[in-house]
Amino acid sequence: MEYVVELLNIGKSFPGIRANDDITLCLRKGEIHALLGENGAGKSTLMSILFGLYQPDEGKIRVRGTEVQIDNPNIANELGIGMVHQHFKLVHNFTVTENIVLGIEPHKGITVDLKQASRKIRDLSAQYGLNVDPDAKIEDISVGMQQRVEILKMLYRNAEVLIFDEPTAVLTPQEILDLLDIMRNLIKDGKSIILITHKLREIKAIADRCTVIRLGKFIGTVDVKDTDEERMAEMMIGRRISFDIHKKPLEPGRTMLKIDNLTVLNSRKVPALKNFSIELKAGEILGIAGVEGNGQSELVEALTGLRKVESGTILLDGKDITAMTIRERIENGIAHIPEDRQRRGLVLDYTIEENLILEKHRRLPFSKNGFLNHKAIREHADEVISAFDVRSSNGPVTMARTMSGGNQQKAIIGREFDLNPEVLIAVQPTRGLDVGSIVYIHRRIVEQRDAGKAVLLVSLELDEILDLSDRIAVVNHGELVGIVDAKSTNEKEVGLMMTGIRAHERSSSNGNGGSNK
């Protein structure tokens, strides 16, 4: 078997941690090889070693059969190894061509010969179906296009091995499908791909083989077509895990949240949410699906009181809360799992117990006559910590900053559920978390619904919306595109609606959507 890259028995330690321990990954020519592992499993370390950012303590690297030492990324480039980073490294007011040639500008005398480069880029783009305009400015093109520019950068430098670091995290469903096509084109042409991801569905869809690492250790390499998602998940997290979500039959109660003709301005004073109306009933989960930046944040901020409403009304269980302060809304039964847990959700320099009384510190028994009751605060923290399985080094007095993302999120969720709200607004509740935490949090959210709470779920992860919601409202450019029943819809329909095409328009405008965003 011919391998283009062999990472053999790689070991790498940092002070106090074994980041990579005897990891072997062999990339065949022309294959897509997934590298699967939870956050902190050591994927990035391994790829940084291959890309020359770190030196391995043990093991060796072979490229096309020859043992090599990769001291820095330039050597990796010379060996034909290129990386498409998760966060693009592009100059926004440069054109595509200028970005691609940056660092290796073709010269003609003392001037830069962009024409020649532009031609080469156009050819490459056509060859792999990338559809990139070499003369467009980065700031004018979509995120999906920017990613293709990153890919072109590697191809322009004659990379044979491409490393994709969580490439789908920033893409719309349609853009993801396009990306998968591009990857297929690349391997058809003899390129080899390492795909770093924790999304099992993508691995199933595109990868040939999959190497799993866990806590820095090599777990195994499997053929994707012979291995089901459950098996791969088990390898990744080390125990069996059931993805099934058991929901009670839907029993919608009375309308808990009625949003009527709501218009909200964003920070640049432009309407981000336009004449938006929707109703949320007790005992249901209403999912808000949409591409990032289509008014979801403004909707949530308007509901929770963090942002002023321009016009329209919000009724909570029949009571007009449009003009209420944040505190009054919380006291009237709104709980909010915020989008950014470190910016909004937690005071990172407070301990867990202090964070757990963020909304409740004025109430008995946590304070009386302006003085805190430390004993009650501690007892409350102990309860929430055990009820929500919040793990930390020092229990209630652990600084929030030192906790893992999953445990920070569990603490927030525990705190918000403990408010016993009428309406729960959960925004991106599982962003950046590992599979184990995701499943746990999903169960707890469904529990709230089953207990008769009204849940508004705002997420950019379409899978999450589809798995949890009873109804799905799709937003585009601050407008409601439509509401669909979660049972009878699918990823494709919602994905299309996310691009602004209404369900009933679909037949007439088919094939027109998606990629031209």
Binding site: L306, I326, R327, I330, D349, H361, L372
Partner: protein
């Protein structure tokens, strides 16, 4: 938590040590023996009860201005308006002291109240401007300093002129924070009742920060105002409150300075105790107890430098330079902290 305190303590000691080393280099540079110099410097601050009392008297306003800056820091505000608050607090106390003729306990209480209110008003203005119009408190704080400076410049010669054009009349015995029993106890030093005002404030501020809803909210706003806002805490109200309390503390510092340590108020001088409060707060790691320690240390330097100057050939300018160096390192103790944190952080990140 205990670890945290220890680290702050180490950081503080490091900046003091670095400051002393820098001072030693200056002394050696001017051909003097640094050990001898420091010997006299510390002896000058500590060697007998009178000098110890003077050290405490020097430290008193610094405790209050340091506490003022530290308290504002906890709420995420930089109170650079301490000199102005000191002036106004001192001016208000002096005016009350020079105007009313009532028994000492009552007069002192009223003067304290006046100083507290004067400083509070000077703190509220930057607080309100920040809360309502997002004016940076450093800009408005510095402007308030000059407003206080020029108000004094006008008021004192016009209405309270003393034997010189540049200072007010001296306050009476009844209006002074100096108490006979205390002066006697410390063999005739400058020490005054202000030290008790300062220590009571330290206790009150400690309790507010640790045990009250107000302190909980103030710190939440200081650490992360977005999270505080999210949880329904009124961020603007807390900003104004924090600045008001900080201003009141500095105002009390003005009382202890002008009607305790001194007995008249001078015009055309921006009190150095104001800005020194920033260094005290930083060296004391913005904790009330730390502030007391840092202020005491600065008190030693202030009261010892004269003795050092008298006993050695070290010029008085060098004495001031040493103090400046230590203040400099105290002010940059954040960098030292980052140095320690940096190392800790790196190993922690690896541990993830």
């Amino acid at each position: 938590m205990r670890l945290q305190v220890n680290k702050d303590f180490i950081v503080g000691l490091s900046s003091v040590f670095l400051g002393l080393v820098a001072g030693a280099i200056f002394m050696a540079f001017t051909g003097n023996n640094p050990f001898e110099g420091y010997n006299y410097l510390f002896a000058g601050g500590l060697m007998n009860l009178e000098r110890f009392g003077n050290t405490l008297a020097m430290a008193t306003p610094l405790i209050l201005t340091g506490l003022s800056v530290a308290f504002a820091f906890r709420t995420g505000m930089f109170n650079i308006g301490t000199p102005g608050q000191v002036i106004i607090g001192g001016l208000a106390a002096t005016i009350v002291g020079l105007t009313l003729n009532i028994p000492k306990p009552l007069l002192l209480s009223l003067m304290t109240l006046a100083a507290l209110l004067g400083g509070a008003v000077w703190g509220i203005v930057p607080g309100l401007l920040k809360a309502k119009f997002n004016v940076h408190e450093v800009v408005s704080g510095i402007m308030m300093n000059w407003i206080a400076y020029w108000i004094t410049y006008y008021l004192v010669p016009s209405y309270f002129k003393g034997s010189f054009e540049t200072e007010s009349r001296h306050i009476t015995q009844a209006a002074s924070l100096k108490a006979e029993w205390l002066t006697g106890l410390f063999k005739g030093s400058y020490i005054n009742l202000g030290i008790f005002i300062a220590l009571v404030c330290v206790v009150i501020i400690s309790i507010i920060l640790k045990h009250t809803v107000l302190g909980y909210q103030l710190k939440a706003v200081g650490f992360n105002r977005h999270a505080a806002e999210y949880s329904g805490i009124n961020v603007n109200r807390n900003i104004v409150l924090a600045m008001m309390i900080a201003g009141a503390l500095s105002g009390l510092g003005g009382q202890t300075l002008y009607t305790g340590y001194a007995s008249s108020i001078q015009i055309g001088v921006m009190p150095s105790q104001g800005f020194d409060g920033i260094a005290v707060a930083l060296l004391g790691a913005t904790s009330p107890v730390g502030v007391v320690g840092a202020a005491f240390f600065f008190g030693i330097l202030q009261s010892g430098k004269g003795f050092m100057n008298a006993m050695t050939d070290i010029p008085s300018e060098i004495g001031d330079t040493i103090i400046a160096c230590i203040i400099y390192f105290a002010a940059t103790s954040v960098l030292i902290r980052n140095f320690f944190d940096g190392n800790l952080f790196r190993s922690k990140k690896g541990g993830k």
